[in-house]
């Protein structure tokens, strides 16, 4: 390969550390490699050892063996999991009816969560206990393994608070005694599971919807909103409660929950759906005003096919007395509408933590550097429980496309922008197609529209040879990458993606040694930037060899950066 010098250089650097005698020579094709393989792939020594992969979600835990296509099983958190052993009350006949004692007020549904992003009122010990019991259940129920210590890989959301991470690691290290725990970030695993190197991962999760931009397996931008599963369930409750309130002749808005979480959650997952974007069926709107959403509801109603007026009967068992409601599908789409879009409000009226999902995605894309944006927008991945709402993915996708169409990538909004958009020339550019060039060079013309003229002429004429660009060009496959168009990609999921990562034996973001953890705890972690990556990787790679090295700095990767 032409880049032999380029690619062997780093090896030599690593080899220098390990065996100073081996790496000094200038010949690129000799010994270092051999030394490396004998030193640095301890994974082959343990190849037959099971590696346990745990994907932590807010509400469930997926556990399996690394290398499998799907997890062996998932454990859902719930109040029944937190009972004492030998407490069989869930089998009592009236157990489901007195849910109000168990979870009312702010506790509504909390028992179904492993943790919350807000750790202020959270009992970390309880989180550790829940993790322990869930993993133990998974061991006996699904994994069918004994309790010999095994190495573990944890897939964690990249925004996980440090106390939660610490509690989780504590629970795992102290009870299951794994020699090491490796951490992987779930958005990256999702991207790997889709077969792409860069992606915009939209995780429609439980507590939060997180939009993460991955570029070359690196998280480059993350933003989040509370519009997610929990809010959907609460909106469902609101919808049902309003209907029950009407039938009760009790119009005062009671903040108390009148239906159990289980029931609302079930209805949300069974019946709630998402209306398609009206724009997908309409002709492209010409008005281009952001406030166009105000007309949404009336328009959709007028457009309905007669089938959408159909009703369904929803039995409500947790309400006293038991009852059932006739709900139209129009109504059942409302929770989703309110949760993820809230389009009756103007876009500027949202706080930062509650941006509608489509706006969040749009903003997230807009904040990305140009090249990254072009790549990411053609690799949108929807994942998480919210993706199970029928029609939601399509709707978000359409809304984002519409926003892009409407506004381009100009962060400036307002009347002046409207005037600009009226200009047909600029409008055409805004809907550009993918550029053919495989590298970033050709995509440059699409920098902020106003500057097009300048850049377009300037770049191709530049005779300068950028060594980095050259390397990039040579290394890259000649097949053109799809970029610049909106495209959604399917993933096998975070767990399976992590399984792929471990399958190819790539090092994790951080690998924590049990001995070191128990000596130092979370306080011992260095910031990722303080840890020499070469050293770090060496100590990861060499596993047992360098494990005892005292004073070796270790890191919790992105989670430890505080």
């Amino acid at each position: 390969m032409a880049t032999s010098t380029g690619s062997t250089l780093p090896h030599r650097a690593v080899a220098n550390i390990k065996s100073p005698t081996g790496g000094g020579s200038g010949s690129p094709s000799t010994p270092p490699r051999g030394i490396l393989s004998s030193f640095g792939s301890p994974s082959s020594l343990r190849a037959e050892e099971d590696l346990i992969l745990i994907d932590f979600g807010s509400r469930k835990l997926q556990v399996g063996f690394a290398g499998d296509a799907v997890p062996r099983g998932s454990i859902w958190f719930g109040p029944d999991q937190q009972r004492r052993v030998g407490d069989f009350r869930i089998w009592q006949a009236d157990y489901k009816n007195d849910w109000k004692k168990r979870a009312s007020g702010r506790q509504w549904g909390r028992d179904y969560e492993l943790w919350r992003p807000d750790v202020r009122e959270l009992d970390l010990g309880l989180v550790a206990d829940k993790v322990e019991r869930a993993v133990r259940d998974a061991y006996t129920q699904y994994m069918l393994i004994d309790s010999r210590p095994r190495r573990m890989v944890c897939v964690l959301p990249s925004g996980l608070p440090l106390p939660l991470l610490s509690a989780t690691l504590d629970a795992l290290f102290s009870r299951f005694l794994p020699p090491t725990i490796s951490l992987l970030s779930s958005p990256v695993a999702v991207a790997v599971g889709a077969g792409v190197r860069s992606a915009l991962v939209v995780d429609l999760g439980w507590a939060e919807t997180v939009v993460t931009s991955i570029y070359e397996y690196r998280e480059v931008h993350t933003c989040r909103t509370v519009r997610a599963g929990r809010m959907l369930t609460e909106e469902t409750h609101k919808l049902l409660a309003s209907h029950l309130g009407q039938s009760q002749q009790n119009p005062d808005s009671d903040p108390e929950y009148i239906l159990s979480f289980e029931e609302c959650n079930e209805i949300a997952s069974r019946l709630v759906w998402c209306k398609p974007s009206q724009r997908s069926s309409q002709i492209k709107p010409e008005d281009g005003l952001a406030t166009v959403e105000e007309q949404d509801e009336s328009e959709t109603k007028s457009q309905q096919t007669p089938g959408e007026n159909a009703k369904t009967t929803v039995p409500l068992r947790s309400y006293s007395p038991r009852t059932s409601l006739d709900l139209s599908y129009e109504e059942l789409a409302k929770p989703c509408e309110n949760t993820f879009f809230d389009s009756q409000y103007h876009m500027s009226s949202f706080d930062d933590h509650e941006l509608p999902v489509h706006l969040l995605i749009y903003r997230s894309l807009r904040q990305l550097p140009l090249d990254v944006r072009a790549i990411c927008m053609s690799r949108i991945i929807f994942t998480g429980g919210g993706a199970n709402v029928l029609g939601l993915r399509r709707r978000i996708f359409d809304e984002v496309s519409h926003l892009i169409e409407q506004r381009g990538w100009d962060s400036v909004q307002g009347k002046a922008v409207d005037a600009l958009q009226a200009n047909p020339l600029l409008k055409k550019r805004a809907t550009r197609q993918a550029s053919n060039g495989p590298t970033g060079v050709e995509s440059r013309p699409s920098v902020g529209e106003e500057h097009d003229g300048v850049w377009y002429d300037a770049v191709p004429n530049l005779p300068e040879v950028d060594p980095v660009e050259e390397q990039l060009k040579r290394g890259r496959d000649k097949t053109p990458q799809v970029q610049g168009v909106m495209r959604a990609v399917e993933t096998v999921g975070a767990w399976s993606g992590a399984s792929l990562i471990t399958q190819v034996k790539a090092p994790a973001i951080a690998t924590i040694d049990r001995d070191i953890w128990q000596q130092q705890g979370v306080a011992g972690a260095s910031k990722p930037s303080d840890v020499d990556p070469k050293n770090q990787r060496q100590s990861l790679g060499a596993g047992g060899l360098i494990r005892g090295a005292a004073g070796a700095s270790w890191t919790l990767g992105i989670w430890g950066a505080s």
């Binding site: 780093p10 004692k101 322990e132 029609g391 990609v489 792929l500 034996k505």
Partner: protein
């Protein structure tokens, strides 16, 4: 409300309640236990639920003299078996074929009842016998005898009545055939060979992959890329196998996301070495966002066509389908659930590695070869209300305790071991929680006679129960430990502080007096205000908050013959020195519900 049967829970000393100071070695219960002594245990704290066990769930290590709970044992697997067909599964199959029964054992996806294979009555058509494939197709179905669900509801029939699992893996819902990952690979190989001959590209590049195939495609793609990128550099392509494993290529690919520190020239030079997947053969799958068909199905079929969350979680992982996303909610997407395999496990003490429980290896037997249950080493506690003669309500035992009115309970400690044990009890004077009840143990320290001489009792059978008890009590009193209850006049005795109520051969009853707290929330608020308490929780009564639970620290001391390895061994051999043993643990005694005035 259902009356509550009094109960006892025991906290295994391995649990460390403190959230901050986790002991370094969780398996050394002695240190954790020492910590516990200084703290009052709150049985109502949410964490307590994870450490409390009924006595029957606890084991005991004879060598460490410690209670072992399910959290602090090391397990080993004796047998894997299917709970339905009781077929023993070799451990190698677990790895390769997963954790479910691969024969014909299925659970109903609706009601989790067992499914049985039934053949649909079809007229034996002599014409069709000529073509056996045709004749046999679709003659068998899976049917649930409880809820009458049958696999025809999801459009699946089987041609053979055995090996259902293998057949099911090849059928999609609706009856469409499906290729397994291996078959996909072979097919692709064939196609590649054909296209090489024909010089044409693969015809099926944009297909809908199911999860398993997508995973397999991605895997082979990544491995191919790794092999390429690592072998390309230094001409070691002959060592292709080393390619994946070598850190050289690994770090090149995945290390890129280790963080900003790698954002240097070196990592950039690596960027190009691996490309992304480009088509479905490499695992790239474009998302099919059009769910309008599913939506209209939802709208036409309604609530009844969807499945509950319980049914959804029971479903096995969906390997054989493309990504279903929201469509998993339909009953038409249900799959029969292959039975999860189960295991028989033997348990070892994590400290001394001695086996403390070992079941018989044969699946069908339920016997144990070794089982050291804690119930035969530590005293059992049974509770019953004490009807004090001449008391307030002797006739009917109340379902609920009356608030603010003293009630007395009889705790009976039964000693299972062959030594006399000395029991010391400690309870907080007020139970923790929002509604503190007053607790008084009238006799917190007593001795229980050894569990010896069953014959002794048998021989003394001529005595009446009362006589025996009194006699024992007298003996004990004369024995000089001062704890005996001497004033035995049958039923006429009064509970008295410092005296035990009754004693028998290996048991002692003591009296506990409780004054249940009032559960009225307004009182709670006012008392809290008087005490100057801030931030009192005046929320409504929570689940189980009306149950009067007493945390009780139990300390058991006994002496064994020195050198005797086993606690349970019969004493009597004259050894030189005796050894003192003690066991201390928290237990929780649930007495009953407090009535709400």
């Amino acid at each position: 409300m259902a009356p509550l049967t009094p109960y006892t829970y025991i906290q295994c000393p391995c649990s460390d309640v403190s959230p901050l100071s986790r002991s370094n070695d969780p398996n050394s219960p002695s240190t954790a236990g020492a910590d516990d002594e200084e703290r009052t245990f709150d049985p109502r704290a949410p964490r307590s639920n994870f450490s409390l066990y009924p006595l029957e769930y606890l084991l005991y290590c004879e060598d460490c003299h410690q209670i072992r709970c399910p959290r602090c044992v090391a397990e080993e697997i004796v047998t894997y078996y299917c709970p339905n067909c009781l077929f023993e599964v070799p451990s190698s199959n677990i790895k390769s074929e997963g954790n479910r029964c691969t024969r014909s054992c299925f659970q109903c996806p609706i009601c989790i009842g067992p499914l049985s294979v039934a053949s649909i009555d079809s007229q034996p058509d002599p014409n069709l016998l000529a073509a056996p494939d045709q004749a046999q197709s679709g003659t068998n179905i899976l049917i649930c005898s409880y809820c009458n669900w049958s696999s025809t509801e999801i459009g699946i029939t089987f041609s053979k009545s055995n090996g259902i699992h293998a057949q099911l893996a090849k059928i999609r819902n609706g009856g469409a055939p499906r290729l397994t990952a291996k078959e996909h690979k072979e097919k692709r190989k064939e196609e590649a060979a054909q296209s090489r001959l024909a010089g044409a590209s693969s015809p099926e590049s944009e297909q809908n992959l199911d999860v398993e195939t997508q995973f397999a495609n991605l895997k082979s793609f990544y491995q191919g890329q790794l092999a390429e990128s690592s072998s390309g550099g230094n001409g070691l392509s002959s060592l292709g196998d080393l390619g994946f494993a070598s850190p050289n290529s690994l770090s090149r690919i995945m290390s890129i996301y280790t963080g900003g520190s790698l954002h240097d020239k070196r990592s950039r030079s690596r960027v190009g070495t691996m490309r992304e997947a480009l088509d479905s053969d490499e695992g790239l799958q474009l998302a099919d966002l059009d769910e309008s068909a599913a939506i209209s199905k939802l709208q036409s079929e309604g609530y009844e066509a969807t499945i509950s969350t319980d049914q959804l979680t029971e479903q096995p992982p969906r390997l054989e389908d493309a990504h279903l996303h929201g469509r998993t909610r339909f009953t038409s997407e249900l799959r029969p659930i292959p039975y999860l395999l189960r295991t028989k496990r033997s348990k070892r003490c994590p400290v001394c590695r001695h086996i403390i429980s070992k079941p018989e290896a044969k699946v069908a037997t339920t016997r144990f070869r070794i089982r050291l249950v804690a119930g035969s080493y530590i005293p059992t506690i049974t509770i019953r209300p004490l009807n004090v003669p001449g008391g307030a309500s002797p006739t009917s035992p109340p379902d609920a305790l009356v608030p603010l009115q003293p009630a007395q309970f009889l705790l009976t400690f039964r000693n299972p071991i062959f030594e006399t044990v000395k029991v010391t009890l400690a309870t907080p004077s007020k139970t923790p929680g929002r509604f503190p009840s007053k607790v008084t143990v009238l006799c917190p320290q007593f001795e229980i006679d050894a569990n010896t001489d069953v014959w002794d009792e048998a021989l003394n059978k001529d005595d009446t129960d009362k006589d025996r008890r009194r006699r024992r009590g007298d003996e004990n009193n004369n024995g000089g430990n001062g704890n005996g209850n001497g004033n035995g006049n049958g039923n006429g005795n009064q509970p008295e502080a410092g005296k035990i109520w009754e004693r028998g051969r290996n048991w002692v009853s003591i009296v506990v007096e409780v004054v249940p707290a009032s559960l009225r929330l307004d009182l709670l608020a006012s008392t809290a205000n008087l005490a100057g308490g801030e931030g009192i929780d005046a929320g409504p009564l929570r689940e189980d908050e009306d149950i009067l639970e007493i945390p009780m620290f139990v300390r058991v001391e006994w002496e064994v013959e020195g050198g005797g390895d086993e606690v349970g061994s019969a004493p009597g051999k004259d050894k030189e020195a005796t050894e003192k043993r003690e066991l201390a643990y928290w237990s929780v005694i649930g007495l009953g519900r407090v009535g709400q005035s």
